[in-house]
């Protein structure tokens, strides 16, 4: 909708695209093992730009033999000095990485938007700076682990196998690698199959920062590579971010094996708006909660719980606001909503949205011209949604909001908690005592009050119930990488 005039304002947004050339795309990428870049021995896969379906580069993915090599390299690096290196030295390597990410921030942001489809505004202002900040934060912990509250002389666990999703490719790599290295572990990381490129630039950065070979190994590949990493007997600790279904498989596959596991899985967060909330701020929070990153966010506020008395007014304000969102070219600095990451994800969003209509909810989207090529889905709001409806229970992982109502705070709590998930929740009210009363009762790992979708390296993040276990970020995030 970039070029559509808004009759109510008369403004037209001229295109303001970043140049794709900034990404310094290479024709082909491989794997990073033992400090060396080489083609993987698995499939050669084209990674595509989801905004136009054009291939970006060819990636020679890893296979099982490459997993063997990577685990061996990580073990050799662990035994060969990384785990016993003074924390102050590990810290300096991590500070270097943080600084190098900042130096190459623009390149990384453009590359992320190309590979993932997210708006450049988000990759530039959220993904990349937060990734750098994460390394900077954990760098400082590396020589202070004895003060972290996990015993006076905490030890690393060993080789960490880490599998990350496609929604925040670079940021998730940072969330996984930074605390692991700070605590003295070595890493085998598998980026998502549709978004391997920024992790491979991170590998370049790590190589340029002169980390000892094998401390970080990066293996692009599909689910089979992930499974090989998780089930490898030489891997001591598993960290997974992704779907609850896969998380359960992982938990089952390593049951009582002695491997440590942390899981960051799906969510179906309630964003709860009371009748005394400042409506304009709440509308901004609702939009940020569900349309940030096209709703490809495990903690997205995908269930809007509105106090009944303000339902009509709030929905009208929300529709007015959604009509101003600009969907289109992810590289355009004016874009609010980018592309859906893959055809498979688009199909899932469509299927679940259709089920919402079939189950009797009212579907609405703003007038919105979708680009002809690429994977696109308009911002969508369902009203009249029942708690039993699939769109109120299943994680859609797309720009689709389900609106439900409540009358009393207790009913809001009961409906918010009526889900197997428990990752996040939002509360909008001017009444402080009610915020704390609600925050106390919501069974979720992150509660945003009068805000939503805030992330910070110092702030622990992770779920209750089937949203997984373990925390990432903050002092708590170290626990997952220390033996105890």
């Amino acid at each position: 909708m970039t070029e559509i005039a808004k009759p109510e304002t008369g403004f037209v947004y001229a295109p303001a695209p970043e140049s794709a050339g900034i990404a310094r795309l290479k024709p082909s990428y491989g794997i990073f093992v033992g400090g060396e870049f080489r083609p993987g021995r698995g499939e050669a896969v084209k990674t595509v730009n989801p905004a136009n379906e054009e291939p970006l580069a060819e990636v020679a993915e890893a296979n099982a033999a490459d997993v063997e090599d990577a685990v061996a390299a990580a073990r050799a690096a662990y035994d060969g000095g990384w785990s016993t290196l003074p924390g102050s030295a590990r810290a300096k390597y991590l500070f270097r990485i943080a600084r190098a990410i900042q130096e190459r921030a623009r390149e990384l942001a453009v590359l992320e938007s190309l590979d993932n489809g997210k708006p450049i505004r988000e990759s530039r202002d959220v993904d990349v700076p937060t990734a750098a900040a994460h390394f900077f934060y954990y760098a400082g912990w590396a020589d202070k682990l004895g003060y972290a509250g996990f015993g006076p002389d905490p030890r690393p666990i060993g080789v960490a196998g880490q599998v990350i999703p496609w929604n925040f490719p670079l940021l998730m790599a940072a969330w996984k690698i930074a605390p692991a290295l700070a605590a003295g572990n070595t890493v085998v990381l598998k980026p998502a199959e549709t978004t391997p490129l920024t992790a491979l630039v991170l590998a370049e950065i790590i190589a340029e920062c002169d980390l000892p070979p094998g401390v970080v190994n990066i293996l692009p590949g599909g689910p089979a590579v992930g499974r090989a990493v998780v089930e490898h007997p030489g891997v001591d600790k598993i960290a997974f971010t992704g779907s609850t279904a896969v998380g359960k498989q992982i938990q089952r596959s390593v049951a009582a094996s002695g491997k440590r596991v942390s899981l960051e899985l799906g969510g179906k967060a309630a964003n709860i708006v009371f009748d005394d909330a400042p409506l304009d701020q709440a509308v901004e929070g609702i939009v940020n909660g569900i349309f940030f990153n096209q709703g490809h966010v495990c903690c997205a506020g995908s269930r809007l719980l509105v106090q009944e008395s303000i339902h009509d007014e709030l929905v009208e304000s929300l529709r007015d606001r959604l009509a101003t969102l600009r969907l289109g070219d992810p590289l355009d600095k004016n874009t609010d909503i980018g592309a859906i990451n893959s055809a498979a994800q688009l199909a899932r969003i469509r299927e679940l949205s259709d089920s919402g209509v079939a189950e009797g909810a009212d579907r609405w989207s703003p007038e919105c011209t979708l680009p002809e090529r690429g994977f696109w889905f308009p911002p969508t709001v369902f009203t009249g949604v029942s708690q039993a409806s699939r769109i109120a229970r299943e994680e859609i992982f797309g720009p689709v909001l389900s609106v439900l109502t409540f009358r009393t705070p207790q009913e809001a709590v009961d409906k918010a908690n009526n889900t197997p998930y428990g990752l996040s929740a939002g509360i909008w009210t001017e009444k402080g005592s009610r915020i704390l009363w609600m925050a106390n009762r919501l069974r979720a790992g992150v509660v945003w009050a009068n805000t939503f979708n805030r992330f910070d390296p110092a702030s622990p993040f992770g779920g209750y119930k089937e949203s997984g276990f373990g925390r990432e970020g903050g002092r708590h995030g170290l626990e997952a990488y220390l033996a105890h």
Partner: protein
């Protein structure tokens, strides 16, 4: 049937023997299945017939534990501390009875049994003191880079299923249940299969300590029969496998993945060791709350 400790004041008086039952929702029912099983002392003498709990008893226990969760987790930490301390008081007054029951169950010297009861009572006191301090140690505020107040605190994970250690009939039991309820969880615990009687008597102390019914639910019977139902139950949030030998843990840990239970599976259990914080941490979740700062 009597235990060895069933002494009567006069030699010619016929003792009143105790029926060892389950403890579910604050009541002492027999197994709904009507089953019992003989419990023998170390030299094979019959001590009593204990209730042999069924899957239905276990499900009833989970329902009771879930029902008790809101009240217990919502109680003040100070109140929970007082109740845990009250349990220690109740045990102290029945010290001789517990010592006799432990010795009857495990054999060994009277001094060893007495020491185990001492340690079990002291463990309640230790955890009573933790209830209103753990959140300060495990939580705190987080200095985020923005105009927000942000804090994290530990919260109880919910209903915890526990298989108690098989050897130390009283200290083992206390060591695994006290940290679970100290932070506000409720518990369904399967007592030592061969040595369940001291734990059943402990339930009598719990019932007179203002511990709300359903906070601790005790089952006796076959671990092999009951543990899989506990591990697979969708309304149980965590599973403590301390009392299961390592070879038996894999299928239970697999079943636990069905609803992403937090599984605590320590390689070994040493009742005499410093308990540390790991059992408090294992059954709590970290909640982080954000709020903007501004005028």
């Amino acid at each position: 049937m009597p235990t060895k400790s069933s002494k009567s004041a006069s030699a010619d008086r016929v003792a009143v023997r105790k029926t060892y039952k389950l403890y579910i929702g604050g009541a002492f029912p027999r197994s709904e299945s009507g089953r019992s099983y003989p419990v023998a002392g170390p030299s094979g003498e019959l001590l009593a017939h204990a209730a042999q709990a069924s899957r239905k008893d276990l499900r009833d226990a989970v329902v009771a534990a879930r029902a008790a969760f809101a009240g217990w987790s919502g109680a003040t930490a100070y109140n929970r501390g007082q109740i845990l301390y009250r349990i220690a008081e109740m045990m102290e007054g029945r010290h001789a009875q517990f010592s006799a029951e432990v010795q009857a169950a495990e054999g060994g010297s009277e001094a060893a049994a007495t020491a185990q009861v001492d340690a079990a009572i002291d463990r309640w006191v230790w955890y009573a003191g933790w209830t209103d301090k753990f959140a300060q140690v495990a939580g705190g505020s987080n200095p985020v880079a923005g105009p927000y107040f942000n804090f994290s605190l530990p919260e109880p994970a919910g209903v915890v299923g526990v298989i108690a250690p098989q050897q130390e009939s009283l200290l083992g039991f206390v060591s695994v249940v006290a940290p679970v309820i100290a932070t506000g969880n409720t518990v369904v615990v399967i007592a030592s299969q061969e040595r369940p009687l001291p734990a059943v008597s402990l339930a009598e102390a719990l019932a007179t300590s203002d511990l709300p019914g359903g906070v601790l639910n005790l089952l006796t019977g076959s671990v092999t029969e009951l543990a899989p139902w506990l591990a697979g139950h969708r309304d149980v949030n965590c599973l403590d496998l301390t009392g299961v030998p390592p070879a038996g843990r894999v299928p239970l840990a697999e079943a636990a993945a069905e609803n992403v239970k937090r599984v605590y599976s320590p390689p070994a259990f040493d009742a005499a060791a410093d308990p540390g914080l790991s059992r408090l941490t294992a059954f709590t979740e970290t909640k982080t709350v954000w709020h903007p700062m501004g005028v």
